[in-house]
Structure formats: structure tokens, C-alpha cells
């Protein structure tokens, strides 16, 4: 019978904490960068200009078609070589570029869910297209995209475990290294699974709270 020894967990709490922080940091930075990317891409996708919408659609299709793992390797070994990105920024750029495509689709769906009459009312009062987007459409789209955007952030936290392959010492790589030295794979991986769950579950609760607050007008 295998005798579990959980002492490996408290003994290495500092390492786990550093891993959690790096995982959250990379995911949050990637999300923060992917939101403007997503808004711009989403707006380009619904643009009347065929070239602009084609370019945006192409980007989105590529990001959906290439596995994140391959994308991370490509950015680290190909793009990173020319740009001197290093593992940390390669990870963030990779996650943001990948996530941006999904955020774009969320933004597009959010904007298109706002009834056409809203844009017409705004434009007929003299607002420019950009003003109407900023003052009338995006605030309404924002409320609609909050839940899917939250799911995207949760996906991002989970996907960020892949950055361990380009030697970013996130929670997953901390665990991998610890298993290699302590041989306590059952204890370490169980604990790490629980940690990921706590992060994503806390986040989904925060989002639920925000959703209630922002949807109070109807």
C-alpha cells in the first residue's frame, strides 16, 4: 500500500505560492492585452471594409486552427529568436494572441446582440460611428460579454499551464520540478489540481457578483 506523505506540501508552500503568483500574473497580463486586441479584431470583423474584415477573420481562423502548444513553441523558438522575447514574454504574447481571437468572437457576438435601433438612435442624434460605439453600443455589449469573457479568463488560467513547456516557472512547472525531486507525484499533482480549481472557482464567483451588479438596470 502506498503511504501518502503530505508533508511535501507545507514544506514547499513558498514555491507553490510563487507558482500561483506567476500563473495569475501571466494569465491576467495575457487577458489585459487580449481585451483590446479582441475589441479591435471584433470591430474589424464587422467592418464594412472587406479587406479589414477579411484580415481579421483570417487571424481569428489561424488562432483557432493552431494548437496553443504549437503556437507557444513557434513564438518562443521562431519569433522569440528575432525579437529576443525570452520565455516570460513569449508566454504572455502567445497566450494574448491566442486568447485575443476568442475575445474577438465574444466582442463581435456582444456587439451584434445590441439591437440595430440603438446604433440608429445614436447616429440620428449626431454621434459619429466611434462615439456611438463608445457611448451606446459597447457599454451594452460589455454587459452581454461579461459572462463569456469570464469563462475566457478561466480558460486562460487553465491554458497557461502549457507555458511550462517553454520553461516559465508557473504553478505547473513548480509541481513538475517538485515531483522530480521528491517523487511525491500523487500528493503534488492532487494539491496543484485543487489550487487551479480554487483559482478558477473564486474567479467565477467574483464574476457572478459583478454580473448581478451590472445587470441591475433591466
Amino acid at each position: 500500500m502506498y503511504q501518502p506523505d503530505w508533508s511535501v506540501i507545507p514544506q514547499n508552500m513558498g514555491l507553490f505560492l510563487e507558482g500561483i503568483l506567476l500563473t495569475l500574473e501571466i494569465s491576467a497580463l495575457a487577458l489585459v492585452i487580449s481585451i483590446p486586441i479582441g475589441i479591435i479584431l471584433g470591430l474589424c470583423r464587422i467592418s464594412k471594409n472587406k479587406i479589414i474584415s477579411f484580415l481579421a477573420t483570417t487571424y481569428i481562423e489561424i488562432m483557432r486552427g493552431v494548437p496553443l502548444l504549437v503556437l507557444l513553441f513557434w513564438i518562443f523558438f521562431v519569433m522569440g529568436r528575432f525579437l529576443q522575447l525570452g520565455p516570460y514574454w513569449s508566454a504572455i504574447v502567445g497566450l494574448a494572441a491566442f486568447s485575443g481571437a476568442f475575445v474577438a468572437e465574444i466582442v463581435r457576438a456582444g456587439i451584434q446582440s445590441v439591437p440595430r435601433g440603438q446604433m440608429e438612435a445614436a447616429r440620428s442624434s449626431g454621434m459619429s460611428y466611434v462615439q456611438a460605439m463608445r457611448l451606446i453600443i459597447l457599454p451594452q455589449a460589455f454587459r452581454k460579454v461579461l459572462p463569456p469573457l469570464a469563462s475566457q479568463f478561466i480558460i486562460l488560467i487553465k491554458d497557461s499551464s502549457l507555458v511550462s513547456v517553454i520553461s516559465v516557472v508557473d504553478l505547473t512547472l513548480v509541481a513538475k520540478n517538485l515531483v522530480a525531486t521528491s517523487f511525491r507525484s500523487i500528493e503534488v499533482w492532487t494539491f496543484v489540481a485543487v489550487l487551479y480549481f480554487i483559482m478558477t472557482f473564486t474567479l467565477s464567483q467574483i464574476i457572478r457578483f459583478l454580473e448581478k451588479k451590472y445587470n441591475s438596470y433591466d
Partner: protein, 242 residues
Amino acid sequence: MISIKNVQKRFGDNIVLDDINLEIPQSNVFALIGPSGAGKSTLIRTINALEGIEEGEIIVDGSSIHHKQTDINKVRTEIGFVFQSFNLYPFLSALDNVTIAPINVKKMGKQEAQEKGKQLLESLGLGDKINSYPSQLSGGQQQRVAIARALAMDPKVMLFDEPTSALDPEMIKEVLDAIRGLAKSGMTMIVVTHEMGFAREMCDQIVFMADGKIVEVSPPDKFFTNPDSERAKSFLSKVLNH
């Protein structure tokens, strides 16, 4: 004030406005009536360029609406538009619905815009609703907020596309009364409507449209007692005797 010359509008192969000509003098109220699909909505939507046109010209207060060099955003501030379905901004209070364009388009100070917005809402009988959200208002109240929102820009012209068609019967009067008040103040207006009583009593001219054409333009007394066209006669016999 509004001059429509030889306007043609197509949706694909479908000619929706066919050689439309109309002159609306300042302070006149024109009713636009006709069967569904006649092109009434399309016509008033071309007047503030919510729809483009293929041929012709529309001039409002000296500005050629569809001309490339016209600053359409500026011209639109002078043309108030009221929609059948209100199109209020659901995430803003009644007052914010009214002030958002003056503040952001006209660059009016927030304080001044709010003072003015409150006055407008009060004058339309909504003094106790300034902080309500659209979802908390009845249809008639929402449409009056929409009228206040349009008036907040100090337009020279007001366009109404079936402003009472989405309302329960008991709310129609309050909205028509608001439009009556505007007519008395000398506002130039075009009202697409099925309210024949209103058209007859309030309007200077009745414009009757069918199949994308203006069939007849007559003063109300003549139009409702002895219209020139057969189309208008048969239309009136349907709507007045139902």
C-alpha cells in the same frame, strides 16, 4: 425647410422610392400616410441619411444631406428622429438618455444639459420620471422620453416614424398631445402615422404614398372628403370603415 428632389432609392432590384418630389415649408406639419410597404419609413429615413439614396437630392435647411462634403453628423443634430420602437438606451436613466447627445455631441456642460433635460422632461409630463430607466416606464412614457431626447438637440426639424403604432390605445393620446404641442410651437415636422384623426386635425398637408410613389399631396380637408386619386379613395375606405 425640407426639399426632396427626384429621389430614387433601391434595395437591390426593388425600387422603394420612385422619383419622389416634396417641399415642406418652415413650421409646416406634413402627415405621411399610405399602406404598409409603401416606402414611408424609407422616405423619412433618407431625410436624415439613415438610408442612402441612388438618385436625386434632399436639402434640409440649406444642407444637401447625401452630398459627400456634407458633415452628416452636424446636420443630424438639426434633425430630430423619433422611432416606432422608441430605441431608448436601456442602460441609461430617462435624464441620461436625454443629455448624452447634448453633452457629447454639442459639448454642452453637464450641468446645463441636465437643467435643460429636466425642463424638457417636465414639459412632457415626466418630471417624476427623470431617474427612471426605460424598462420602468410605460410605452407612452418611453416615447415621450424619446421625444425629449430628440428635442434636447434643439432640432429645426422633427421626423416621426409611426410614433404611436407600438403603443396600447390608452397611451396614444399622451404622445399625440406632445406632438400637438410641438406643432403649436412652430416646429417643422413630418409624421408617418395611421392616426387619421390626428392627421386631419393637426397637419397642413397629407402626403399619400403607395408603391414607392407619392400619389397625392392635399390639404386634410380635401384629402379626407374628396381625394383626387383612386388609390387614396380605396385606402381611406379601408382605414376609415374598419
